[in-house]
Symmetry: C2
Subunit: 365 residues, 2 copies
């Protein structure tokens, strides 16, 4: 019998090294939404982005229970059928991984290697959380509501159930759902079956999957996923600022056809409808712009489809033969804009830099 090894190192430092085997493993498990799927307003399961920290738990819905406890006057427990019998609400919600764009940073934070596709929009059906918290009677001195999932593993050398908290005031928002259906069907295993949290407007880490417990706390929650991960840190020692709501962002459906290996785009000359989606977790989308070879123009915005779902946009481009660079960017009603270049941080969080895409236009035959 050998000695047990040291626990694995915490988050590795960002580096200019080539892609690592660990990043490939994560990239193969978790998946991005291919950007052509921006053409569909509701992302089907299997195209919606997915980040699973540990393993997908296989849960028996019949014996599953949701416990609400901690600093509450009346601890409660619910079966799935009891939750489904309560007030039902369906919301179209855009969820984006806080690490979306991480692998475009230099030096590159080592972790789930997102390029652009860590996003998706689904219709989530469930029951609002706030009335349940009111029934449980959250104590007045509670500060955080902690949501714990059934997925367990080790991260940064620390064994943990995946857990995240919301300030009490955010948890009491009428839009926070305990969701049991995605796009009209029961949650697939990988999206949190039987019940997950959905926190509209926030980056995806807040929407805890495979929900097992909800606990009110009178002291701020200091779990790994709350204060070690999912923070904007300048370096390893910086406690950082917590990641909360999604920054403003626009993405474009790649026009034309791709090369299999390089994904470089080949477009026929003539009129090309550029289109995509834009969202912000802070305020409605106000404007989307497209640049062709550095010259910005306003895109047309589709009608909004709800407060929390991305908004479609389009732009008519008269494509001339040659090499071109396309970009898009969005502005929200708080006049937040996307940076032209990535804003680097230690963990690679919230990179909402402008999307750039090289395309080759050939003379249409």
């Amino acid at each position: 019998m050998k000695t047990l090894p040291e626990p694995p190192a915490a988050v590795p430092a960002p580096a200019d090294v080539p892609l690592t085997a660990e990043e490939l493993q994560l990239g193969a498990r978790n998946h991005a939404m291919p950007l052509e799927m921006l053409a569909i307003d509701r992302s089907p399961a299997g195209m919606h982005y997915l980040l699973i920290h540990f393993d997908v738990p296989v849960i028996d819905a019949g014996s599953w229970r949701l416990r609400i406890g901690g600093a509450v006057r009346r601890p409660l427990e619910f079966t799935l059928a009891q939750l489904q019998a309560r007030e039902q609400r369906t919301l179209a919600v855009t969820l984006e991984c806080a690490g979306n764009g991480r692998s475009l940073l230099k030096p590159r934070p080592i972790g789930q290697p997102w390029l652009h596709g860590g996003v998706g929009t689904a219709e989530w059906t469930g029951t609002p959380l706030a009335p349940l918290l009111e029934e449980a009677g959250v104590e007045p001195d509670a500060v955080d509501i902690v949501f714990t999932g059934a997925d367990r593993g080790i991260q940064g050398g620390e064994e943990q159930d995946y857990a995240r908290s919301l300030p009490v005031s955010e948890a009491l928002s009428p839009d926070v759902l305990l969701a049991y259906a995605m796009n009209g069907a029961p949650l697939p295993p990988q999206h949190g079956f039987p019940v997950r949290l959905v926190v509209p407007g926030w980056y995806g880490m807040a929407s805890v999957k495979w929900l097992a417990g909800i606990e009110a706390r009178t002291r701020p929650f200091t779990g790994f996923q709350q204060i070690q991960s999912y923070c904007y840190k300048t370096d390893e020692t910086d406690p950082g600022e917590p990641v909360t709501r999604m920054k403003v962002r626009a993405l474009m459906v790649p026009p034309g056809i791709p090369d299999f290996l390089t994904r470089h785009r080949l477009v026929d000359s003539g009129p090309v409808l550029l289109h995509g989606r834009a969202w912000s977790g802070r305020a409605p989308i106000q404007r989307v712009q497209v640049a062709v070879d550095g010259v910005w123009s306003d895109a047309r915005l589709d009608a909004p489809e709800g407060e929390f779902a991305w908004r479609g946009w389009s732009f008519h481009w008269q494509a001339e033969p040659g090499e071109h660079e396309l970009m898009c960017r969005a502005v929200d009603a708080l006049v937040r804009i996307q940076p032209q270049e990535p804003e680097w941080n230690w963990l690679g969080m919230g990179n909402n830099a402008v999307q750039k895409m090289a395309v080759t236009v050939r003379t249409a035959r």
Copy 2:
């Protein structure tokens, strides 16, 4: 206006180079089945593996038509409703990407960077192809039936619709389906909506998605995906042998809990039920074996679940604290066995080498 660039190079040579940006892009678009999902007998959409050569086409089912032509006496055309009104058949089918395991080879062929998870099993519902071919009246001198998808792009410098052929005798098998449903729901866009081919027993490249046309040919089909890609080649100049049916393979659900970054497994000591699935495209699974630290033992086989679906297996392991290596392998009724080490080939096809997994066992608390 700049000069148009040279077309991209054909398949790059295998190399011992670090992972490339192109591999990351492909790995983020396409997705593997996380191995813990071997616990579920039918892979839900989003967990079933997915390889999309070009872009996912967005197809209007109302205007979609399937054309059957070429060397036939009566060219035919079908709407989706017409296909759905015909004989309906549902088959549980294991599909595996021919490139599964590619990135475990050394030197590493550069392409979709599969590790182990390029596999899945779904229930496909559709109408058998053979009666349609019989109605069309395939000419006696036809040799291949070519299936063309609606996905278009460039690969190896060649612009193409994705297309693959089957020998006439294989296409007339009663088990080949024109499938319009996956696990009881309409095909999701990424799995070939509205209709795809499903060729049980064959590697996934034969099951053409987004089917647009079926054509009988009196000369062997020489499309890119038929003779350039999806061949067992010894080097770039070797025409190679075509990839056809799936080789025998067993995979294991990783026991215990994972480390987020390394995916290394931590297992509590005591009784551990190791389990997984095994399949072969050539013959029924006859035997599965598990090795603990190099000592092989027979696993228990679950009852078969149809001719074309993987078969469950399990093995009781008494885990002792320390470092261990687990392996599994299967044997089919043709007494095909899995190689202990990968059988290298130029394009990284059909790597069914034995799965090996390092685990750390700690004393159960």
